[in-house]
């Protein structure tokens, strides 16, 4: 696992890596408008990390994916989601404070990107948590697999 795969795979990965991440961000961003959302988009982004891990191996990545940083970001995503839920506590927990307020994301056009109140923000929080969470699970699994291979 540490050495990576053939040059064909690595070259294709260089091309598709950014595309997959952009597509994942697109799914997260339009979560309140189209099928998908934070979880699905986050999983798509994490699949790009998985591809990089398989193609280049942990050694080839040279620590570009820092597990401790990813885990901290995962907690930040979870706390951001919870914080948005707490923000509505003036009325009720999870109350959508931004919806129909006229400010950012408070647009009244239901098909616009800047609508939905706190929903897009929650999608971003979930997306951050899922992409970093799955990525750190993958890294741990790769480390475990390498240990087993060397034993």
């Amino acid at each position: 696992m540490s050495s990576g795969m053939s040059v064909i795979v690595r070259t294709v990965t260089r091309f598709t890596y950014a595309l997959i991440i952009v597509f994942g961000f697109y799914v997260i961003m339009h979560g309140h408008l189209t099928p998908g959302g934070g979880f699905q988009g986050g999983a798509v982004v994490a699949s790009a990390f998985a591809l990089a891990l398989v193609a280049f191996g942990t050694a080839g990545l040279k620590g570009a994916l820092n597990r401790h940083l990813l885990q901290s970001l995962e907690e930040v995503g979870a706390l951001a989601f919870l914080g948005l839920a707490f923000a509505g506590v003036g009325t009720a927990f999870f109350y959508n404070i931004l919806a129909n307020s006229g400010s950012v994301f408070g647009g009244s056009d239901p098909a616009a990107l800047a609508s939905g109140g706190v929903l897009p923000l929650m999608n971003w929080a979930v997306g951050l948590k899922v992409m970093t969470g799955i990525a750190s699970i993958l890294i741990i699994m790769v480390i475990g697999a390498r240990k087993e291979a060397t034993e």
């Binding site: 901290s72 979870a78 706390l79 707490f86 509505g88 506590v89 009720a92 927990f93 999870f94």
Partner: protein, 524 residues
């Protein structure tokens, strides 16, 4: 109604959840700060639970409904309750108090137990997550969210069981627990799906109004799936096999949370039997299924405890047998309630069964916590290799003895009070059941005398400095539970009147109030 009280039900879930996610970040700043933070979260949660319970009982114990994300009714005027909501009646608040007690004791105990081990951050996070799941199961008014919280407890619980990753036995136990919890969760989900397909709703109160008298076949199948799935998670024989593995391998503080988790599943079972179906579908055969499982649980639990050599497995089988007492009492209550002429002894049985739940949480918790110290001290879990612990650990010895006597129903401790109510009400339904329960209780005393004799009495084995002196926070944690044991034992009438009777009332006659609390708010 002030804002804190209004939001208290959701804060009980949100505060530990916040803690669970923030612990890894706080843990990076230092282990002392992390332990302070976790203790603060646990204290805050317990304080909210206590405040909520106090004002709930002061207001006459009428059900509270909390709707997440806005008002109960929808702008479109739809009459089915589709929002996520918490609904608390006497039983939910009672269970919430048990969980708060167990959570506080577990967090206090664990703060020094794992000081020198790695992975303590993860353990704190998982324990808070387990507390979140248990609170959620007990408060939710929505069948699908009940499943979600059930899964949260399953995941957190099996991670805690398999926490000692360096130990093959705990990995095996975690695998078994994970498989069985998932299985029970999937059957519960199947039942929820059947009910949703039939009635188009997930709210417990709404479904209860839709299940008319003379349940359809699909209702019966859903009931069977819910009953078996939840009974397995509660640890009823013959589906109890996971319990000794789980309780035995989990760290000491996690064991008490697993007990609270089993009781939350039992709560779900009672909620389904009495509220979701209740008077709509309550054949006598259902009560006898419950009683049959209970008698098996009592007998097999106690007799298997007698032959265990592993101290934690011995206590675990004792815990299994106590689940049987609760199921027996509630089964008797159910039989009396649904008989052609309801008799008052059923209400006493419900009181006894529910009172036994909080007593069991305190006694079994005390035993598990004391056993954790004993095992660290002796360096083994095998009773054959122990002896003479009482020479050095005086408080631990006293707490273990108190827990054992209370659990076996020695007067004047709390276990006697609740078991007396169970015996005398069960006797009115069938003397044989009462005799079985009493004999099993005597046998349980023998079981714990054996454990006590083997571990605590006798000459010192290898005297080491491990766990000496026992950390203060552990003694405080056990002292808290011991205080509950003694207080509930000396003043049973006081506590039964205040907290147990509203809970029993919620089962006995609270179905309409539970439904009305949600349904009357609709359409406005």
């Amino acid at each position: 109604m002030n804002a804190l009280l209004h939001h208290a039900p959701v804060l009980l879930v949100a505060v530990p959840l916040l803690g669970a996610f923030a612990v890894p970040l706080v843990g990076k700043l230092g282990s002392g700060l992390r332990r302070f933070f976790v203790g603060l979260i646990a204290l805050l949660t317990t304080a909210i639970a206590g405040y909520l319970a106090a004002s709930f009982y002061a207001a006459g114990a009428s059900p509270i409904v909390y709707v997440l994300g806005g008002r109960l009714s929808l702008p479109s005027g739809m009459v089915a309750p589709i929002r996520i909501m918490f609904e608390l009646d006497g039983l939910s608040v009672f269970m919430m108090l048990i969980t708060a007690l167990a959570a506080l004791a577990a967090v206090l105990y664990t703060s020094s137990f794992w000081k020198e081990r790695s992975g303590a951050t993860l353990k704190d996070s998982l324990m808070l997550l387990l507390i979140v799941g248990i609170f959620g199961m007990e408060m939710t008014g929505d069948l699908f969210n009940f499943f979600v919280f059930l899964e949260i407890t399953s995941i957190a619980a099996c991670s805690l069981v398999g926490f000692r990753v360096w130990n093959g036995r705990s990995q095996e136990a975690a695998f078994k627990v994970m498989t069985l919890y998932t299985l029970s969760g999937l059957f519960v989900l199947l039942a929820v799906g059947l009910l949703y397909g039939q009635y188009g709703g997930l709210n417990i109160a709404y479904l209860a109004t839709m299940i008319g008298s003379g349940a359809a076949l699909v209702d019966k199948i859903a009931l069977g799936l819910l009953l078996t799935g939840l009974a397995m998670k509660a640890g009823a024989v013959p589906m109890h096999m996971w319990a000794p593995d789980a309780y035995g391998e989990a760290p000491g503080a996690a064991s008490i949370l697993l007990v609270a988790n089993s009781q939350a599943s039992l709560y779900g079972l009672f909620r389904v039997l009495f509220t979701l179906y209740g008077s709509a579908y309550s054949p006598q055969s259902l009560a006898w299924i419950l009683i049959g499982l209970a008698v098996l649980t009592i007998i097999v639990g106690v007799t298997m405890a007698l032959v265990q050599r592993d101290l934690k497995r011995l206590i675990a089988f004792g815990a299994v047998s106590q689940i049987g007492y609760m199921m027996l009492a509630v089964g008797v209550g159910f039989a009396a309630m649904t008989a052609l002429q309801p008799s008052d002894f059923g209400f006493v049985a419900l009181q006894g069964g529910l009172f036994h739940m909080i007593n069991d949480a305190a006694c079994i918790g005390l035993l598990f916590l004391a056993a954790g110290i004993v095992i660290r001290r002796a360096g083994t879990r095998d009773l054959q290799g122990m002896g003479g612990i009482a020479h050095d650990l005086k408080w631990t010895t006293a707490f273990f003895m108190l827990g054992a006597f209370a659990l076996a129903g020695m007067p004047p401790l709390n276990g006697f009070a609740s078991k007396l109510m169970i015996y005398e009400s069960t006797f009115r339904l069938s003397p044989v059941l009462a005799i079985v329960a009493i004999l099993a209780s005597i046998l349980l005393l023998a079981v714990f005398l054996r454990a006590f004799q083997a571990a605590f009495l006798g000459p010192r084995t290898e005297p080491t400095d491990v766990m000496r002196p026992v950390p203060i926070s552990m003694l405080v944690s056990m002292g808290l539970l011991a205080l509950v044991v003694v207080a509930f034992g000396l003043f049973p009438g006081f506590f039964v009147d205040r907290i147990v009777t509203p809970a029993a009332q919620a089962l006995w006659s609270g179905r309409d109030a539970y439904i009305q609390a949600v349904m009357s708010g609709m359409g406005g």
